[in-house]
Structures are given as structure tokens and as C-alpha cells.
Assembly symmetry: C2
Homo-oligomer: 148 residues x 2
């Protein structure tokens, strides 16, 4: 009766987050930091707003996250000469190094999280969750072309 999907999902997410946070803590990093670094590597340099859209991090939280990472020289923040409203955030070499380390830690965390599931079930889980996540991701059917 109380094995509701929303509850189960939440419980699983809680466990996952606990494991991931613990792994990241070894590198003095929080999830936001990783999300930003990963987005930078994946998409290349971008404005804070664009990064926020891609990571789901709020503009205001993005400020603090960039501050943190810039303070550790893992990213650089520079004004965009073509649009003086924007800051262009770029990952540094040190940032890439750190990201690689985080990727390793994160991979280990995934394994710990999925421990009770054999490979076939893991795939199915990812498939199901992907469908859910995509369905609830963008309530706005057609997304604007995301210029850039």
C-alpha cells in the first residue's frame, strides 16, 4: 500500500545522492560543482545562463557555483566581448583534471548504488527512468533553438 512509485523513487534518489555526495566529498566538491564542470566539458565554454539551462541550476545558484570553482581555478569567468551582459565560463586544464577524478569517483558511486541489480536490470532501470525524466523534463513541448 505504501510502496508508491513516488516514494520508492525518492528513497532510491536519497540513497543515490547520499552515495554520490559521499564520493564527491573526497574531492571537496558538491553536486553543483560537478554538474557545472561536466556541462562545460560536454558543451564547451558558455554563458552562466546557458549553463544554468543545461544543468537545471538556477541563475542565482550558478553565480555561487562559478564563484567557488573560479576561486579554485577550475573554471575561468570572463566577460563576453560580443555581448557585455554575458560572462563566458571556461573550464581550465586543472578543471579537466579534477573532472576526470570526479568521473572516476562518480562511476564508483554508480556501482555502489546499483549493486543489487544485475546488468540487464540496470539497463532496464535506466531505460525506464529515462522515459520518465524526459517526459517530465520540458513541459514546453517545443524548445527554442537554444542559440549558440
Amino acid at each position: 500500500m505504501r510502496a508508491l512509485p513516488s516514494r520508492l523513487t525518492n528513497a532510491a534518489a536519497l540513497a543515490a545522492n547520499r552515495i554520490v555526495d559521499q564520493a564527491f566529498a573526497q574531492a571537496q566538491v558538491r553536486r553543483y560543482h560537478y554538474a557545472l564542470l561536466a556541462a562545460l566539458e560536454e558543451y564547451g565554454p558558455a554563458s552562466q545562463a546557458a549553463l544554468g539551462r543545461r544543468t537545471g541550476i538556477d541563475r542565482s545558484d550558478m553565480v555561487a557555483t562559478v564563484n567557488d570553482l573560479a576561486g579554485r581555478a577550475l573554471v575561468e569567468r570572463a566577460p563576453d566581448p560580443d555581448d557585455r551582459r554575458r560572462n563566458i565560463v571556461t573550464i581550465t586544464a586543472e578543471g579537466r583534471r579534477r573532472l576526470a577524478e570526479l568521473d572516476r569517483l562518480l562511476a564508483g558511486a554508480q556501482d555502489e548504488f546499483l549493486a543489487p541489480l544485475p546488468p540487464a536490470d540496470r539497463e532496464r532501470l535506466v531505460d525506464l527512468l529515462t522515459r520518465l525524466a524526459e517526459h517530465h523534463a520540458a513541459p514546453s513541448g517545443g524548445r527554442p533553438p537554444e542559440p549558440g
Copy 2:
């Protein structure tokens, strides 16, 4: 590369929580309130500490939750004559009525959450998540008999 299970689980949980919170908001209730009412109906009257163990709510948060619900006459808090450390929390008739309403709202939320999945996939999802949740639930293999 970034379709990590932990991320997907988190995204799904986020969507689920958003939907559930929105549903509960219609009844001026938060998740903790529902969790407590549901636990009371399922297990019967119990001490705050016991309820906390069953719902996963911290003792300190339980105080506030019981305060809220007692203030709305949905539960009653009475000292346990057999153990004066304890408060026995009991659901009221009004509490049951409210719980039934919340159950309806919650069922609707589940449906909205699982919308993209056909019934067979929903079952598989629940199965997979249950295994994950149970595996990460109680690292302490054997639980004490939970007297009561």
C-alpha cells in the same frame, strides 16, 4: 555519458516530488504530514520515536510535524501512562478523513508521474526501485525486534 543512473533517479524523484507536493498543497499538507498520518493508520498509535523510525523522519522533525497535525486536530498527542518518557500519537476521525482525501490526491499524482509508462513497465519500475531501496535501506542486516 551523463545519463547516469543517479542523475536519472534524481530527475525522476524531482518530478515525482513536484507532482506530489502540488497535489498535497491542495489540502494544505506537506509530505511529512502525509507520511505521519499514513504511518498512524498503518501501524496504529505509537510513540513519536517509533513513528520516526517507521517513516524515516528525524525525532526533531517529528515534533514539529506532530505539532502541526495536532494543531489541526488530525492527530492527538497524549503521554503514555506506562512510560512517561513517551507521547502516544493517535490519529483522529478527522485525521482519517483527511488521510483518505490525501490518498486520493496521491493516487492521482502517481498516475501523472507514471503517465509515460504502460502498466507492465510500471510494475517493473516498482520492482527495480524496491530492490534498490531495500538494499540501501537498512545497512544493519538484522534489525532489533522493534518492541511493540
